[in-house]
């Protein structure tokens, strides 16, 4: 059976309310199109996992899709706050958000453990910080060889991980290059893996040492050109830094945020229509 689905089908078939979901991509290759499709299909009670929530989770949280967030840095990079994330944490709007907070090193260790199907990740981390006091998942073990106390974090095994990548072939092999963040770990930690791609090719000639996810670890592939916008896909288009700066004004207030989401996400059928709606605005 072909793994090639439309994004609408992939989300409808493989993502359910209440699941733990990781949309990864460290600044680069953030799966915005998939995030929007989750909002369009009205997914609820999600436990969202991402090192850097970024705008994509600001949108999901502001639209009431999430009950919990596991993360390590929740800002608009280089700009400031994620106002929808802040509103949920500070004021409980549109609903309270349970936080599971880590450092980047802790999240990386948790994904790596998840990908290895080990129970916990290990690091020399969280030394002297208040984070273990607010996240009881951060614990420690004594090294059996040296006696050193080392920090532990429970493995992250999302029900579904969603990535965006540059390309896949028709069999469902996926290749991504450039800044690859913790995508390989998040992908292999998950029970199901959905990938949106810029292009589907007959033969996949990945660059040496590119991150390649073989077809038998991939659940579904959807062809979504521009699927990372306003994040970027190296070799295809750049990060729209001006949009990230504009988001500060869009998301600062509840009503401007809702109006933007309704016009550009809820009122558009798919990602191509979403992108077209932004062009109209500029014209």
């Amino acid at each position: 059976m072909s793994k090639l689905l439309s994004l609408k089908e992939a989300i409808a078939q493989h993502v359910q309310d209440g699941q733990m979901l990781a949309l990864e991509g460290f600044t680069h290759l953030i799966p915005f199109a998939a995030g929007h499709e989750l909002i369009r299909q009205g997914r609820r009670e999600l436990h969202l996992v991402r090192m850097t929530p970024d705008l994509v989770y600001d949108q999901l949280i502001g639209m009431g899709c999430a009950r919990a967030l596991t993360f390590s840095w929740g800002g608009n990079p280089g700009v400031g706050s994620l106002y929808r994330l802040r509103d949920a944490v500070e004021k409980g709007w549109p609903r309270p958000l349970e936080l599971h907070e880590h450092s980047h090193a802790g999240m990386a260790a948790a994904y790596t453990a998840g990908a290895s199907r080990m129970p916990f990740g290990l690091l020399r981390g969280y030394i002297g910080t208040d984070l273990p006091g607010v996240n009881p998942d951060i614990r420690s073990v004594t090294c059996p060889y040296t006696g050193e106390a080392l920090a532990t974090v429970p493995a992250l095994n999302p029900d579904v991980t969603i990535l965006h990548a540059q390309r896949a072939d028709r069999q469902g092999n996926v290749s991504l290059t450039g800044i690859v963040g913790a995508q390989r770990e998040a992908a292999l930690a998950a029970r199901k893996l959905i990938v949106t791609v810029e292009e589907v090719v007959d033969a996949l000639p990945p660059a040496m040492n590119a991150v390649v996810l073989p077809h038998w670890v991939v659940t579904a592939v959807a062809h979504v050109p521009g699927g990372a916008y306003p994040s970027y896909a190296h070799g295809h288009y750049a990060r729209d830094n001006a949009f990230y700066q504009r988001w500060d004004d869009i998301a600062r207030e509840r009503d401007t945020f809702r109006a933007w989401m309704e016009k550009h996400v809820l009122a558009t059928a798919d990602h191509a229509a979403f992108l077209a709606s932004l062009v109209e605005k500029a014209a």
Partner: protein, 261 residues
């Protein structure tokens, strides 16, 4: 000498602290500006590492995010993110971790998590990112932060990143590998830890700066070194390089992005 702003002076002072060949883990914002200014002026062979996995990067414009494409395209290599934190940072291969924060206390501990109580914050800040382990394991940490009584506080609302903890050798008794915050650059002067207590002490002032102005900007009774150094004002080359970098950056970040379809 042309006129300059306190922000420019602070960024230039921060850049001067870096040396040629230094391996530097770069935070976004002011640290990124200072590190790239160093690379474009006196430290052309500095190795800049951003937590997105870009090593030895030489961006022509400052990145807005920690993972702009510019950082990858101009890097010596790009490695997966878990590697940056394990093979490069925890292993002790970083000379300087360059950080910002929302709050700092007298022992150089940093808060970038919340203002107010964690469970009911007045202001939810972005959080830790790479900072706790950068602060623990870089051989030394530099902090750059504008001085106000709201940012230089007697007591942090939350300790995100360890400095010298309670001072008096407490950090040295932990398993942190690095030396801690050896340098805090502000817009009113430079602070360094005292050798005995590790309390941050004013050790240098800018041209025209006074101890009184520094004390007014710091939220605890500020210790002052006996022999205060005077920091030289920006050179014409430093100012021109910084301003050109900022101008290129502004132009690049306002460029419309064209999708190829």
């Amino acid at each position: 000498m042309s006129a300059y702003t306190p922000d420019e002076m602070m960024t230039i002072a921060a850049s001067r602290a870096l040396w040629n060949g230094c391996v530097c883990f770069v935070g976004i914002g002011l640290p990124s500006a200072a590190c790239n200014l160093a690379r474009l002026s006196h430290a052309p062979d500095i190795v800049l590492i951003y937590e997105s996995g870009t090593i030895g990067t030489r961006p022509d414009v400052l990145p807005l995010s920690i993972g702009d494409g510019e950082l990858a395209e101009t890097a010596a290599c790009v490695v997966p993110l878990p590697e940056i934190f394990t093979y490069y940072l925890q292993s002790g291969r970083i000379d300087v971790g360059f950080l910002g924060a929302a709050q700092i206390d007298r022992f150089g501990n940093l808060n970038s998590t919340v203002i107010g109580p964690y469970e009911k914050p007045k202001t939810r800040l972005p959080g830790a990112g790479g900072a706790p382990e950068i602060g623990a394991h870089a051989k030394e940490t530099f902090v750059v932060l504008k001085a106000t009584p709201r940012s230089f506080v007697p007591r942090l609302d939350f300790c995100t990143t360890p400095g010298y903890l309670g001072g008096h050798g407490e950090r040295a008794r932990t398993t942190a590998r690095g030396g801690g915050p050896r340098l805090v650059i502000t817009d009113v002067g430079v602070l360094r830890p005292s050798p005995e207590s590790q309390e941050l002490t004013l050790t240098a002032l800018y041209e025209g700066g006074t101890v009184e102005a520094a004390r007014a900007a710091i939220g605890w009774p500020l210790a002052v070194a006996e022999n205060l150094e005077q920091i030289a004002p920006p050179t014409d080359t430093e100012l021109a390089t910084l301003r050109a970098l900022n101008a290129r950056t502004r132009a690049a970040h306002s460029q419309p992005v064209r999708l190829p379809f």
